[in-house]
Amino acid sequence: MAALPKRIIKETERLVSDPVPGITATPSEDNLRYFHVTIEGPSASPYAGGLFKLELYLPDDYPMCAPKVRFLTKIYHPNIDKLGRICLDVLKDNWSPALQIRTILLSIQALLAAPNPDDPLANDVAEDWKKDEQAAIKMAQEWTAKYASTSSQ
C-alpha cells in the first residue's frame, strides 16, 4: 500500500490535538484510512442522549473525492437509510477537497439536529416523518434509547 499522504496524517493529528466537541474519530490500527467514529446526539434533537457509532473510510483519491461514511448504530432518521448510509450533499456532489474529516462529521451532527424529510432522496422514514412528525420524533427517541443509549453500550 502506498504511503499515507501527509494530509491524512495532519488531519489525524489535529483530530487528536484539537478534538471536536461531541465527536471522536480514531484511526484503525491496521488501516490508517479507516476511522472509528462516535457522534453524540445533539441536545435539542430526538437523538439527544444517544451515542452513535459510525465508520469512516478515506478512499485512495481522498481528498479529491469525499470520505465514505456510514452509521453503524441503528438510527431512525429521514436522511439515513437502513444500512446506515447518509444522504448529505457534502458527501456527494457538494464535496470539496477543502473540506475535512472534521467538517464532514460536523455536517453529520448538524443533520441529526435538523432532519430533512423534504429531501427528494430521503427514504421511507421521510414519509412517516411528513405524515406525523410528532410520532416520528417519538420513534426516533425510542430508537435512540434502544440502540444508542450510552448505558446500553
Binding site: R7, P42, P63, M64, D89, A98, A110, A114, N116
Partner: protein
C-alpha cells in the same frame, strides 16, 4: 457555516457557531526563519605556495581549451577526442596546468549556474574537505561585490586595465569570468609537486582540482578569497554547506535538457533525484525488465538510474561520490559513449576514469540513432546538480513578494451568504495554509491564486484546475471562475 450546516434544503443549523474557528490551524510563522539560513561564505585560505603567480602557462591553457572547444563544437556529438589532454584525465595532471581538461558547461547553463549558486571557494590544496556548496541569494552576491575593501584584489575592475601577462582578457562579462578562472587555476596549478600523491590520492586530488575550478567559476569570489586568505575556516559551517543531508547522504538531481531549437530533442524524462552515502556509487543504465522497480523508485532513493532508450547500455555509466560530497562520473564500457559537456569520456567499450562533476554539467548518454526520430533511439541529455544545490534559499525578494501575496488573499467572497461564511472560515488565515494538503504556503513554492483570491500549491490544485478548465470551482469558497477571462487593463 455552509459546510457544517447545509442540508438539501439549506436550512440553517446550530452547528455553525460550534464549528467556526475549528477549520484551520493558526498561521505558522516559522517560514520567516528561513531568512536566517542564508549560506555563509567563509573561504579557506589557499595554501601559500599556490599564490601570486599568474604564469606563462596561462595562454597555453586558454589556447588549448579553446581548441578543444572548437574542435568539439564543429564535430557532431559523437566525436572522440584522441588528444588525451582534452579529456579530464587522471589526477596525475592535477598539478601540471591542465585546466584545459576541465571545461565548464557553456552558455545559458553556465550563466545560470553562475547566478544560482555561489561556488565553493576553498582552493586549499592541502585540505580538500573545505569545499563548499551553497545556494546564494542576490543579497549574497552584492555582499561580495561590496565587500571589496581598499587594497583588496578587485578582479572585476582591475582585470580590464591591468591584465596579467599572457592572460587573454576579452571584453564580455562572460570572458571576464573565464579570465578570472584562468588566473586562479594557473595560480593553484603552480603548486609544485602536487602530483606526487599517486593513485590512492586520486579522489582527493580531483577534489582539490575541482575546488580550484569551482572557486574560479565565480569571479565574485576571487576578491573574497584574497580578503579571507588569512582567516581560518569554520569546520562546522563547512559541514553544513557541503550539502550532506541530515541522514548523511549526498544527492544528485538530473533534469532533461530539451533543446527546442533542434529537431531531435533527446529523451524526455521526469526529473530524477537520487541520494547516496559517501564513498558509494550509483549505476546508470538502460531500463530493463530486471530493473523495472528502479524506474519507479521514489525521489531520493538510492536505486539505479535507468532510462528507456536503446542507445543506453545496460551498464552504461556510474555516479560516485567521495567523502566530501564531490561527485564523479565514469563511463562503464558503454557502447555508444558518455559525454560530459560534449566531450566523450572513452572509446566504445572502454572504461573511462572518474570525471569530477559540478553543478550545471551536461551529461549525454549515447547518441541519437536513426536520427532520433523514434523516442527509444534518442540519446539522454541531462543537466546535473548536486547536494541539494537546486533548493532555493529564501531571500528578501521572495519574502517580500510572499508578504504582498498574503495581503491579496483578503478572504472575502460576495457569492451568496453561504459562500461568504465558508470563505471567511477558510480564508481567515489568508495565505497561510493550502486547503488541499494542509501544509503551509511558503515563499519559493509554486502557487496558484484564483480570481476569488484563494491560494493553493499549484501541484495541489492542478487536478481541480484541469478537471473542468476553463471553469474553476473554488474548493474553498465555491466561487465559479472562468480562467480564460480576457485580461484587460482597466483604467
Amino acid at each position: 457555516m455552509y459546510i457544517g450546516a447545509k442540508t438539501k434544503t439549506g436550512k440553517e443549523s446550530p452547528v455553525s457557531a460550534q464549528s467556526s474557528g475549528l477549520s484551520l490551524s493558526p498561521v505558522d510563522k516559522k517560514m520567516l526563519s528561513g531568512s536566517g539560513e542564508r549560506a555563509t561564505h567563509e573561504a579557506e585560505a589557499p595554501s601559500s605556495n599556490g599564490e601570486g603567480s599568474s604564469s606563462g602557462n596561462n595562454s597555453l591553457d586558454e589556447q588549448s581549451r579553446n581548441e578543444g572547444r572548437d574542435a568539439h563544437y564543429n564535430e557532431p556529438s559523437g566525436a572522440y577526442s584522441s588528444t588525451g589532454d582534452l579529456l579530464r584525465s587522471s589526477s596525475n595532471n592535477a598539478g601540471q596546468g591542465t585546466s584545459s581538461g576541465r571545461r565548464s558547461s557553456f552558455g545559458l547553463g553556465f550563466l545560470s549556474s553562475f547566478t544560482n549558486s555561489i561556488r565553493p571557494q576553498a582552493p586549499n590544496v592541502d585540505s580538500p574537505q573545505n569545499f563548499m556548496s551553497n545556494s546564494p541569494t542576490i543579497a549574497n552576491i552584492s555582499q561580495y561585490t561590496s565587500g571589496n575593501g581598499p587594497g583588496s584584489f578587485d578582479i572585476l575592475s582591475n582585470e580590464q586595465s591591468h591584465p596579467p601577462a599572457n592572460t587573454q582578457v576579452q571584453s564580455s562579462s562572460g570572458s571576464d569570468i573565464d579570465a578570472a578562472n584562468d588566473l586562479n587555476i594557473t595560480r593553484v596549478n603552480e603548486v609544485p609537486e602536487e602530483d606526487g600523491s599517486g593513485g590512492e590520492g586520486l579522489l582527493a586530488d580531483e577534489t582539490a582540482r575541482i575546488q580550484q575550478e569551482r572557486e574560479s567559476d565565480n569571479s565574485n569570489t576571487s576578491a573574497n578569497v584574497e580578503q579571507q586568505r588569512n582567516r581560518t575556516s569554520d569546520s562546522e559551517q563547512n559541514s553544513i554547506s557541503r550539502g550532506v543531508d541530515k541522514d548523511g547522504f549526498f544527492s544528485v538531481r538530473l533534469t532533461p535538457v530539451i533543446d527546442h531549437s533542434s529537431s531531435t530533442s533527446g529523451l524526455y524524462f521526469s526529473p530524477v533525484i537520487r541520494r547516496i552515502k559517501p564513498l558509494t556509487s550509483i549505476p546508470i543504465g538502460r531500463y530493463t525488465e530486471k530493473n523495472k522497480s528502479a524506474a519507479h523508485a521514489p525521489q531520493g532513493s538510492s536505486a539505479p538510474i535507468v532510462f528507456k532508450s536503446k542507445v543506453v547500455s545496460r551498464t552504461h555509466a556510474l555516479f560516485q561520490c567521495n567523502k566530501d560530497g564531490q561527485w564523479f562520473l565514469k563511463d562503464c564500457k558503454s557502447s555508444s559513449g558518455t559525454f560530459l559537456n560534449h566531450i566523450r569520456l572513452s572509446r566504445a567499450s572502454e572504461e573511462s576514469t572518474l570525471m569530477p562533476l559540478m553543478d550545471g554539467d551536461i551529461i549525454q548518454l549515447g547518441m541519437d540513432y536513426r536520427g532520433g526520430t523514434e523516442e527509444v533511439y534518442r540519446c539522454v541529455k541531462m543537466r546535473c546538480e548536486f547536494n541539494k544545490s537546486w533548493q532555493r534559499k529564501v531571500n528578501n525578494f521572495n519574502l517580500e513578494i510572499h508578504q504582498k501575496l498574503k495581503s491579496l488573499a483578503i478572504g472575502t467572497s460576495t457569492n451568496g451568504e453561504n459562500n461568504q461564511a465558508i470563505g471567511k472560515a477558510l480564508a481567515g488565515d489568508g495565505l497561510s495554509e493550502c486547503a488541499i494538503c494542509l501544509m503551509k504556503l511558503d515563499p519559493c513554492q509554486a502557487l496558484f491564486i484564483s480570481p476569488c483570491s484563494h491560494c493553493w500549491h499549484y501541484k495541489c490544485i492542478r487536478p481541480i484546475i484541469i478537471k473542468s478548465y476553463p471553469q474553476f470551482y473554488c474548493p474553498n469558497c465555491r466561487a465559479v471562475c472562468d480562467l480564460e477571462t480576457d485580461i484587460e487593463d482597466d483604467d
